[in-house]
Symmetry: C2
């Protein structure tokens, strides 16, 4: 039997999905599970998108242009301009989800063995994309005490080597919900210019900024046009994760010419999804106002409930729909599995994502979990009650010393 590749062996499995078999077994035992483990929102997809799908009247479902349907790219350029991001349609290639935007961006800009600096904790799938591209992730630790703010620039400086080619940030962040300030991005800008790096920004949660805080994109950084590559997606913006429509956006013509060649190899992004995405641009502002109000309410409910629990600490995030909580448990993986295998409260339990998958070294996330507040308030209230009761009886309950919490 021929052997699979080293890449196939080393490719990390999804840390978010690894507890699924335990959840399935719990469901079979009749236990209701509150899924706070994945970023699959329950918010309805805008009607304009679903109507566009229902009204499709194609005789032949053809390939689109490899860079995406031109009318969609033009409307999308308008969306960016509305967000003060100065691009036209030729600066945009439509991708199959944000995932493909990151894959193509990495392959177009980094050679195998090149290094990319990423503040951690970070979106777990960055490990998969870098394994695919044979690129090395160099993590820089951010801390829960600071609410996961940008680590000191001196830490970035220390991590830079001759192989460093790019910095990747997620803003607002999955998994932390942290929203980088204009000041933080200005500091990053200086570093990027000094070392002539690419600055990749995964900004798929752009719309989800709370408390009146100003959203500042890397595309707003003047003088950085040749360095910035934006990775985007409509998945979260319009609660349309399954449409698989994203975009790679840059003013750097060399990057875009290379990206187009990767786009041509896979022929085209999905036609149905693009039709829905083009219609989505007409989503009324009221949709976002309602969604943001809903998420702020959910966030406040969850963060407040968490911080009232004995031994729990959860910084209040200003963006996305995640928060990271430190729990008084020996091991987050063990605790999350125990929640599904051995615990229930009034026939219910809660599924969380152990933070171990969001750090380069799992032990850094040993006492943390990521909570996606993607359920209705009444479900979140029940889920928090479950968690509170669980922490009272979990056999591995531990007091987290400060140094161990941030180790």
């Amino acid at each position: 039997m021929p052997k699979i590749s080293d890449k196939g062996l080393n490719m990390p499995p999804s840390p978010i999905r690894k507890l699924v078999p335990y959840a399935e077994a719990a469901k079979k035992r009749g236990i209701q599970i509150y899924h706070l483990n994945i970023g699959q929102p329950d918010i309805h997809t805008p009607e304009v998108m679903m109507n566009a799908i229902r009204n499709i009247d194609l005789k032949v479902v053809e390939y689109s242009h490899s860079a995406g349907i031109e009318s969609y790219r033009k409307k999308l350029a308008g969306y960016y301009q509305k967000n003060n991001i100065n691009v036209d349609f030729s600066d945009i290639i439509i991708t199959t989800g944000g995932s493909e935007a990151i894959e193509i961006g990495m392959m177009a800009c980094l050679n195998p063995g090149d290094e990319i600096i990423v503040p951690e904790p970070y979106y777990a799938n960055y490990n998969g994309f870098s394994t695919q591209a044979s690129v090395i992730v160099k993590p820089i630790a951010s801390t829960i005490e600071s609410g996961f703010a940008l680590p000191p620039i001196s830490e970035f400086e220390k991590a830079i080597t001759p192989r460093t080619k790019a910095i990747l940030i997620c803003n607002p962040s999955n998994p932390t919900g942290y929203l980088y300030s204009k000041e933080e991005l200005m500091v990053l800008k200086e570093l990027v210019i000094k070392h002539d790096l690419f600055l990749f920004a995964d900004e798929v949660y752009r719309e989800f900024c709370y408390d009146g805080k100003e959203y500042f994109s890397v595309m707003h950084l003047e003088g950085l046009e040749q360095n910035v590559v934006l990775m985007d997606s409509i998945s979260k913006r319009y609660s349309a994760c399954g449409a698989r429509i994203g975009a790679i956006v840059s003013k750097n013509k060399e990057v875009m010419a290379a990206a187009l060649k990767f786009a041509q190899a896979r022929l085209s992004p999905p036609t149905f999804g693009q039709i829905a995405a083009e219609a989505a641009i007409d989503t009324p502002d009221s949709y976002f106002e309602e969604v943001i109000k809903e998420y702020v309410g959910r966030r406040d409910l969850v963060v407040s409930a968490l911080n009232k629990m004995d031994g729990v600490f959860c910084p209040k995030p200003s963006g996305a729909f995640y928060c990271m909580a430190q729990l008084p448990v020996d091991d987050a993986d063990r605790f999350c599995q125990w929640l599904l295998e051995e615990f229930s409260f009034e026939g219910q339990t809660v599924m969380l994502a152990p933070a171990t998958g969001f750090y380069s070294k799992p032990e850094l996330g040993r006492h943390q979990v990521r909570i996606a507040y993607v359920l209705k308030p009444e479900s979140l209230t029940n889920a928090m009650k479950c968690l509170e009761e669980a922490l009272k009886v979990y056999p591995g309950r531990t007091v987290i010393a400060k140094e161990s919490a941030t180790a």
Copy 2:
């Protein structure tokens, strides 16, 4: 300005699309172009698929399972069983088009620097996928005189090195239309076993077999279950190229476990496309009977017209919807560009794909073009008339010596 990657520089542009600017200019001059350059069929997508799309009633367009919607995978397993391919749904991962099936298959099975043997001429995008995966394509020449039959197995033996990990065939073939016989595949099987290789088969044209010839899949080869990886797509089968739905299929559990990790990294295949693809399984057999009758008529028309032209030779293919023709021209690239830039007959011209892009060394395809017979018979008749007139007046008309034709 930071430099893009070597991979980004070396990634081949699409040879099928490189003449597009000349076509656009010709259209602006008012010339009608018959597009025989791309495999975008004009056949209508089955009504069952379009109805499924129009009847979508989702509140939230969610991620599907990374391996694809389970009900679709189960129905797709039924489709394969109907084709005597003995798989169940756990042997199938739904991909974003056949393109992603090939990308994931290469990454899961081959290390950077490993070699994959491919009979040439071959589908141009294999070069792109291998560049992405840092895999080396080792071509084995097939000849137009033999109708592009499988090259002698001794040629494969000569090409095998310690780095050889797989053989990739496309059956029926894009670009040649050649349909491998059971006997040819049995010979390949012995080779694959002898050297413990993977056998990748791109069988996206499975339905398009003509003249009563039996279709024989690599999945029908007994004793090769651990070696065979099938790359499939609904794009051509149901004339639904834009749906971007394919599949990677194998009985090798290690390959499938690795493939699933790559699938998890990109989260899920497109939901809308999967819904349409699931409905497509119910396409009545009469649809295929009509389509095949249509393509046989088109093929006969084109191949007969070509072989009547002075100095032209075109073997009659038994599958897919392409043929390769040898033309009495100095250079197929120059000729195809001239057709668009300088030639017209009664206000019309024809766009062809120079075969140079389908060979590892462009000079091997210098006197050949690929013709996709994807237009209605009356358009094909006009296109052939244009080509005939063009060959009469093309300034670079040449007599092709036998050795030069097959060099």
